[in-house]
Symmetry: C2
Subunit: 413 residues, 2 copies
């Protein structure tokens, strides 16, 4: 392997702050929702950076921004990037860092090695978070894989009820042409992203290569009993869904603890009805978020949870309804791509581990059209989706070196 | 004992329906909040009934309506009654039945035995439920015991933020004179009320004599951990207040089950923050309603709950704050009065039990100025605070007979 190009940390920092200026919020935060003026301005800045690096910018039908370097030998493109939209507010790194990393890596590789053998593209994806259009998470990457139905353009609305098609027209996109965003000419997608968890920090490592992206199943569970007077109803007469909930919550959380990483289970939302201090609840509704990066293991977890819920409800005389509202299947990263990234890290002398992602990513969608893999950069305190999110410049540069080494092997070598 | 007067079931039914017409709601329900036009009209009807029975009506400074029969020998008054305000909506029986029962009993006793030896009063109490003025529960009975502070008149507000003093002036009451509502000339208070629970129905009995009224302690408990990404945070890194809540909820509810009746514990209100399906909560706040009719036992329950909460919070690294927002002490009914009501029931051949009340009642307040006891009438399905609340006319007549027998022994014999 030849010597890899240096990565200019000062330039990386400048780009992070430059992008964060569009939608700057709460000091170190960013509030940049899809198709907003801040979002348009941020993509314009990315396009300028791309042109300066010798890449040709192109917006597709949903507003994904592609920056392309043609390859001497043609063929399918090697792509890297991430999403440019943020949480409300989010931090400077979630998504944005993957675009900057790809740009910096590709620019450095072109400067060092000249134009690539195969086409290389940097992509700024739109609406990963669903922070403006809640049901449109992964809108950009879904468009690339042809997973947007014509009716989505009307049924997907923002928090004010405005259809996404109108918001697209406002910035000059033609919703009629969404199908044209589909790509069948991608050879590989590598996404650099902050970890958003505490694993790298606990292991004292700057980066990880991601070999799988978790499945996510969200279920809404409703337990119904009988609302009663909290004083006049002795315990033995009650059918108390809160008592059933407590048993189920302990059960499913303990189950995930016993399985150990990477299994996780979370109860994040709960509501009691009528929610009065002196009333035994008539119903308790809660969400059950359950994840495992191996689909078979995820199915086993789901089944065990369902058996527990059915047993508790039956024993306590409670009604039980379970609705699955989200079901992302686990995504195995391409073993060859994972190997390429690992050797790049080893050669660059960057200590790393291979781990699964517990969060969903655009890569999971794009895996529908080409092999994918990811690079994680350590998150301070494992924090994300907050202005406090932070990754050190040293860790970021380490991540970009792994990415650059991988892109070199795929498109230049 | 002489033969007791007959109770005219038809007349009782007529009165129940007559009173329920003021604030009629949802078919069989009543929506009659304190100082509302319906409330004024209902009290006017009660005053009319009182006059027709030969009693002298008088409204006190907070709007409690007193109907008095002077006693041949004078002395302190024997009083019976209950509250005339309802939940929003409540049923036809909670409160109202105690006023009707007292009127019917006193009217029958006067008709049968002539004027009493000691003064007898029927009382229609105001704002027991706190359904219009949430912090004014037991407003009427608190006035009788002198437990209303001058500042309460301004700080106690309705759901629109209007001070109770203004609502009093609207119907011609003078808030400046609240202290005059205090009574120090009461010899005994007997309240007939629906059970609001399932105990009599399960025992297949029409009535109970109440020998104690529960303590009630409401605590607001807040567990704080760390809000984290539901996917990126492995279980072992979490400080999850929902997991702590589940363990505490199971623990305190199971504890009440193990203690058995009359101990009860309820978790009726809960909120998670930020309450997102894919976010490990940063905080869980819930109410803990804990009751026992023996104060010492109630204190033991509270201590055991506190120990559990502290142990769970410490072990899980969670913050814990506990605020007591309501603390009604247990009330032991006067043993002599309980005995009087039991012999009245036995003599009238009415099968009954002696039990504690798990709900709070005006009697608990009035115990501050005179001996109290209560008569419970069976509730269908144990239901109350709903238009579906129901007690049969047979059970109601049985309850009135017990009350009349008691009043006879106290004021006529």
């Amino acid at each position: 392997m030849p010597e890899m190009p240096e990565i200019d940390a000062g330039r990386v920092e400048e780009m992070i702050l430059g992008l964060a200026a569009h939608g700057a919020h709460s000091g170190t935060g960013v509030w940049r929702t899809t198709y907003s003026p801040e979002w348009v301005a941020a993509n314009a800045l990315v396009a300028d950076w791309g042109r300066a690096a010798g890449l040709s910018p192109r917006s597709d039908a949903v507003g994904n921004l592609w920056l392309r370097a043609e390859g001497r030998e043609g063929g399918k493109a090697i792509v890297s990037g991430s999403h440019i939209d943020s949480q409300c507010p989010g931090g400077r790194y979630d998504g944005a860092l993957g675009i900057i990393a790809a740009l910096v890596a590709v620019e450095a590789l072109i400067a060092h090695f000249g134009h690539p053998r195969r086409p290389v593209e940097v992509v700024s994806l739109c609406e990963e978070e669903g922070s403006r259009f809640p049901s449109a998470a992964f809108w950009g990457s879904r468009a690339i894989t042809g997973r947007i139905a014509p009716e989505d353009l009307i049924s997907v609305t923002d928090h004010e009820g405005r259809p996404i098609a109108e918001a697209m027209r406002d910035i000059g996109l033609d919703p009629e042409r969404v199908a044209e965003a589909r790509r069948d000419d991608l050879a590989a997608f590598i996404e650099l992203h902050i970890e958003q968890g505490p694993v790298l920090e606990a292991a004292d490592l700057p980066v990880a290569v991601v070999d799988a992206i978790t499945s996510i199943r969200h279920r809404v569970v409703r337990l119904t009993g009988e609302a009663n007077h909290a004083g006049a109803f002795p315990m033995r007469f009650r059918r108390d869904p809160m008592a059933g909930f407590a048993e189920i919550a302990s059960g499913v959380i303990d189950h995930a603890h016993r399985l150990g990483a990477p299994a996780v289970t979370t109860i994040g939302q709960i509501a009691a009805e009528p929610n009065g201090a002196a009333i035994v609840p008539g119903a308790v509704t809660f969400t059950l978020d359950s994840r495992h990066p191996i689909q078979g293991e995820a199915e086993k977890m789901s089944s065990a949870q369902a058996r527990l819920m059915e047993e508790v409800a039956a024993r306590r005389g409670l009604g039980l309804s379970v609705e699955t509202i989200l079901d992302h299947h686990a995504c195995t990263c391409d073993p060859a791509l994972v190997e390429v990234l690992r050797s790049a890290a080893t050669e660059a002398d960057i200590p790393h581990i291979v781990m699964a992602s517990g969060a969903a990513h655009d890569s999971q969608q794009i895996a529908g059209v080409c092999p994918v893999a990811m690079v994680f950069v350590r998150s301070a305190g494992g924090r994300s989706h907050t202005p406090e999110e932070f990754s050190s410049l040293d860790d970021i540069v380490a991540g970009i070196k792994v990415l650059a080494g991988g892109l070199y092997r795929m498109a230049w070598a």
